[in-house]
Structure formats: C-alpha cells, structure tokens
C-alpha cells in the first residue's frame, strides 16, 4: 500500500510537472512575476540615467537630443520601480517602517534608503536644476493655474541671471557625478541581494551585481532608443540619425560587455562544476530552455547584436537602419526581461536537495498576476507622458525650451 501511495505521489507530481525529488516547501515559488519585474524596472532606471550622464559628464554631444528624455524616462520608471515590491509583499502601509527603524545589517531593509537617496538626491535634483530655467520662463509666460503650478515648481528660486544659470549647470554636473556611482549602487544592490544568497547556487556569485549592472545599462539604452524613435514618429519630427547611430553604438558596446560577463560566469560555473551543476544543466536544458537559450541568448543578445552591427557598419539606407535599430531594441527588452526571469524564477525552480525541479505557474488575475504586471509595465509610460507634457524634453520644437549649455 505504501508503494501504491508512493506511486500516487509520483503520478500527482508528474501531473504538476515536478520531476525528481523536491522538498515540500519548494513546490510553490514565492518570488513570482512581480519580483521579476522589479529588477527589470530598476535596471531601466539605472540604464537610462547612465545614458544621460554620458552626455553630461563625458560630453558626448551627439546624444544631446535624448539627454532630457532619458532623465525623464529614468524618473518615470523610478516612481514605479518599488510598486511591484509593495504589491508582492502586501501591506504597503507598513513599508515606511523601514525608514523609521533602519536595520543596517539587512540589505533588503536598506533598500528604502538607497531608493530615497537616488530619487530625491539624484534624479529629482538633477531634473530640477536642468529644467529650472524653463520652469522659470514658463511661470512667467503661462496664465491661470498653470502659472502657479510652475511657480511652485521653481521653489521660489526665479533668478535667470548669468551667474544663477551657470550654477544650475555646475550643480547638475556635480549631481550627475554623484549620480553615476548611485546608479551603480542602485542596480548593483539588486544584484547583490541575489548574489549574496549563499544557499542558492544559481544566484550566489560575486559577478551577480556586475552582470546586473551591465544588463541594466543595456536595457536602459535600448529603452531610450525605443522611446526616442517612437516619440519622433508620433511627433512627426525628423530623427537625429547621428544621435540614433551613437545610441546604437553604445548599446552594442554595452551588450558586448554584458554578454561576455555572462559568458564568463557561465564558463566559470561549468569549470568549477560544483555539485549543483548537474541539476542546473538539467534546469537550463529543460525548464529554462526557451527563456534562457532562445529568448535571452539568441533572440535577446545574438540577433540584436548582429543586426546592430549590420545596421551601424553596413551600407544601408537610413530607413532600414531605423527599422533594424528599432527591432533590435525591442528584442533587447524581451531579452533583458527574460534575463530577470531566468535569475529570479530559475533560482527557485530547482530543489535545494539538488535532485528535482519544480514548475512555476503564472497567476493571471490577482495582485501578483499577469494583468498587474502589464499594468505596472504601462504605468511608467503614462507617467512619462505626463512628465513630457509638464517638462517638455524636446530640443527641436519649442523655441522657448532651451537646451542646457552642457
């Protein structure tokens, strides 16, 4: 009877897609789609910001047209980045307690401070200094409620003297310089959380923060590239081809670094061949085959790299180039999302006994479901739309909006 029960157990497990032996508490994954979304969103923030800082700190003049756009993109995604975590944990009303009673030994508890620093000291300040001149001008030109709105945004600092503008510029630069390590911190931190889980051979790796960082840069550049192409189309403006080419070039370099880092990580694991290697290879060749081999590596890395190389260095008409860049950037987004998926979900698919695999079942409705994820993915674009209405980032339309002097 025992073995009949046992074979029932096996049959039930097979019906659930479980293979091999897993502990009872590994049946269900606790970090689901929303926890995949969270590193994806913070990655976009860090990436977009680092792109903006290229112009500011390293004086890459060509990408001027997307400088402000990438700042606003970073801001819009930053505002949404903590929402998946809040929805995942439940009880969002308790989240402020980690500010009140900071726990310095817990990396997760310190997130609030990393986030607050990045949002308030880096992003908001940089946007404010960058737009202050425009805000002041608007507060003078607009009428009615709008006038007061912009007046409040000036915070009372309305001087447009040469000296004041110069200071804006200097302050912006300084903040960007502080901002780069902060952006590294923000996303390195996310990788750190995963990399420091000693008990999980799929996560535990010192390379984790660095790989996260570079994939963040990749996703951020690709996102700004996408937004730039789409907004130009919608606004019936000529794309600045030099800028797009440069963006694609940066994207390619970042992808090369990212890809080789991941390859390095992979080879190291293979060479070390720790006892987990058997189950991890089984996981990669079964459970993660589509999301890792197909979408992350082939569609998300190799194909876009190849098409960017073709478009950037081949002799193609601009039309075709744009299309290739566009497709490549979309594939990169899909690829980076699968990267996050493979890290977060992959790390929970295999049993700590190293002898079995479980499956992840997506929730459709509910606080952690697909619809919530789609909503949280669209929300930053809505915020970005509003931001561009309030603080237009375009350098090519409105005469009164002037670009900073860099």
């Amino acid at each position: 009877m025992n073995s009949i029960l046992f074979s029932f157990g096996v049959m039930a497990a097979e019906a659930h897609g479980i293979t091999g032996y897993i502990y009872p508490n590994e049946f269900e994954l606790h970090w689901g789609l929303l926890v995949v979304l969270y590193p994806y969103l913070t990655g976009l923030v860090a990436g977009a910001f680092i792109l903006a800082s290229l112009e500011r700190v390293f004086n890459v003049k060509v990408i001027m047209p997307v400088y402000r756009l990438s700042l606003l993109t970073a801001l819009a995604f930053m505002l949404v980045a903590p929402l998946p975590l809040l929805a995942h944990l439940g009880h969002p009303e308790r989240s402020f307690e980690m500010f009140l009673t900071p726990h310095s030994q817990s990396a997760m508890a310190m997130f609030g401070f990393v986030y607050a620093w990045y949002l308030m000291v880096v992003l908001l300040l940089e946007v404010w200094f960058d737009y202050r001149k425009d805000i002041v001008i608007k507060s003078r030109e607009k009428r009615g409620i709008k006038k007061y709105f912009y007046k409040i945004l000036t915070l009372g600092s309305t001087s447009l003297s040469e000296k004041a503008l110069q200071f804006d510029n200097k302050a912006g630069r300084l903040i960007t310089i502080i901002g780069i390590p902060s952006a590294f911190l923000l996303h390195g931190y996310v990788g750190f959380i995963f990399g420091s889980v000693k008990a999980n051979p799929w996560w535990s790796s010192v390379l984790m923060p660095i790989v996260f960082l570079f994939s963040a840069i990749v996703s951020g550049i690709a996102l700004v590239l996408l937004i730039y192409i789409v907004t130009s189309l919608v606004r019936w403006k000529q794309l600045n081809m030099a800028c797009v080419n440069k963006l694609a070039e940066f994207l390619l370099y970042a992808m090369l670094v990212d890809f080789s880092l991941e390859l390095l990580d992979f080879i190291q694991r293979l060479y070390e061949s720790e006892e987990s290697i058997a189950i991890l290879s089984e996981m990669v060749s079964n459970r993660l085959f589509i999301s890792l081999i197909i979408t992350q590596i082939i569609l998300g890395s190799l194909v876009p790299m190849f098409s960017i190389i073709m478009a950037r260095f081949g002799r193609l008409p601009d039309e075709l180039r744009r299309i290739l860049y566009f497709l490549a950037a979309i594939l990169v987004q899909v690829g980076i999302f699968s990267t996050r998926w493979n890290v977060v979900v992959g790390g929970q698919l295999f049993s700590k006994s190293l002898r079995g695999l479980t499956v992840y079942k997506l929730e459709i409705f509910g606080l952690e479901g697909v619809f919530m994820t789609i909503f949280l993915l669209l929300l930053p674009f809505v915020i970005l739309y509003i931001l561009t209405k309030v603080l237009p980032p375009w350098s090519d339309s409105d005469k009164s909006m002037s670009a900073p002097q860099g």
Binding site: M1, N2, S3, I4, L5, F96, E97, F99, L100, T101, H103, M120, L125, F129, R132, L155, G156, S157, T158, S159, K163, A164, F167, D168, A171
Partner: protein
C-alpha cells in the same frame, strides 16, 4: 513668498540652494518627528525589536502548569508513567492545560481523553512516522472498543507481544508486500531477539552486514528456486554492499 523677499538681498550662497536647503531640512525634520512619534518607546533596547513585546507576552494568562507540577499530588501516577513506554509523553498532552486545576484541584478537574478518536492522533498509521513507532490502523485494530479498555494510558503495556513486525514497521512491511521480495519473511534477513517485540530499544534487531546474505538466493550457484534472478557475486556490484544499490525491502533491477 518669504523666500522671494530674501532673493533681493545679496547672498553669497547661490540662490537655488536656499529653497532646496529648506526643503531638505523639512524632509529630514519630518523623518525625525515621525520617528519620535511612531517608533514604539521600547524599540531597540534589547535588539531590533520592541522589548515591551516580551512583557506583553509574559502578561498572557498561563494555561499549562508544566510537567513537574503534577508530581506534587499525583506522584504515584507519575512514577508509573515514567517507567512505561509513555515516559516521553507529558500529562498535559493528554489531559489538556491544567494550570487552573493546580490552583484549585477540587473546583476544576481536567478532562481525560477516553474515546477512541484520541490515541490514533499519535498511533494511527502514517508512513511519515519513524519506522519502529507503534502504529495501528484504527479501522482494523479491535474496532468498537475504547483503547483504554485494553491499554492503560499511564502504562501502555501490550496484552501480549505483537506477532507481526508490521506492528511497528508497517512502512517497511507495506513496501515489501508489493515488491519482488514479498514472499520473504523479515527474519530471512534479520536476526530478531524476542525482546525486540516488547522492548525494542533494549534489544535492537540486527541488520545484515555481509553481501553473502543476498548470495544465499542470488549467487550463481545458490541452492534456491530457479525463478530467482542470479548474479555473479564476485563481479556484480564490485566491492559495494548489495544494499548500496538495491533497497532490500523493495529491490529493483533497472
């Protein structure tokens, strides 16, 4: 508006820093005030938690009297139980929380679980329980009578020694019953002293140590039934014990 007035005065500090400075001071003050108001007073005294929580828990009314407190009045019963197989089972596990009974024994008497449903909580068969733990299948084991009709709960002696190893090793017996070794008796492979059936831990049954045991039936030249599959003892499985690869209670040849 106040700020606006100030801008007319010549400041060495750049004008932008004043509102920003005020804003940041406001935020930080808000944080400090919120901390002051919202952090519970005893937080952090002993660790990263509210130490008053300990007092709060201490203030809960006590329901259990504890194992040793029964000894004061029921020492005879305590002595009886402590030399029995229920020595590891505390009185209040069966009789429920009895703190009130200790305060006033005549006023409050604890319950005694007399019905059949209770004992199978521990003794009903469950393959997850360790092999050797006495387990019965309640539907089959003397149905219709209360357990205490035959077993004294404070000294659960068995009326007579169990006849089957399955009384305590049902998990193994069940597994063996549907395996290739179904026809084999447990004693074919295990030497079991009679005391093992009454006081199992003081006389543990022996486990096989030599592969020759399996050779009795499976060696090429063994004097056993023709249908039994044979292996060449010298080479098959090399120097490993047969049960390093085959589970003896449910052997498989893959």
């Amino acid at each position: 508006m106040q700020i606006k007035k100030r801008t007319n005065i010549k400041f060495n500090v750049p004008q932008q820093l004043i509102p920003l400075g005020i804003l940041f001071i406001l935020v930080i003050t808000a944080l400090i005030v919120a901390r002051y108001l919202l952090v519970p007073p005893t937080f952090g005294e002993l660790g990263h938690y509210r130490s008053q929580a300990i007092e709060d828990n201490l203030a809960h009314p006590m329901s259990y009297a504890g194992y040793y407190s029964c000894n004061e009045c029921h020492d005879d019963m305590m002595e009886l139980k402590n030399q029995s197989n229920h020595r590891g089972v505390a009185c209040e596990v069966c009789h429920g929380p009895a703190a009130k009974h200790i305060e006033d024994p005549s006023e409050y008497l604890p319950d005694a679980p007399r019905d059949r449903g209770f004992c199978p909580l521990c003794h009903g068969y469950d393959p997850a329980r360790p092999s050797g733990f006495p387990q019965i299948i309640p539907a089959l084991h003397n149905p219709g009578h209360a357990c205490i009709f035959c077993h004294d709960p404070h000294n659960p002696l068995l009326p007579h020694a169990p006849e089957e190893c399955s009384a305590c090793h049902r998990d193994i017996a069940n597994q063996k019953a549907v395996s290739h070794h179904a026809t084999l008796d447990c004693t074919e492979c295990h030497v079991v002293a009679a005391e093992h059936l009454t006081d199992p831990r003081s006389a543990l049954a022996q486990k096989p140590v030599e592969r020759a045991l399996c050779g009795k039936c499976h060696a090429d030249d063994a004097d056993a039934s023709k249908g039994i599959p044979r292996v060449e003892m010298a080479s098959h499985g090399q120097r490993y014990l047969c049960w390093d690869c085959h589970y003896p209670h449910s052997p498989e040849a893959y």
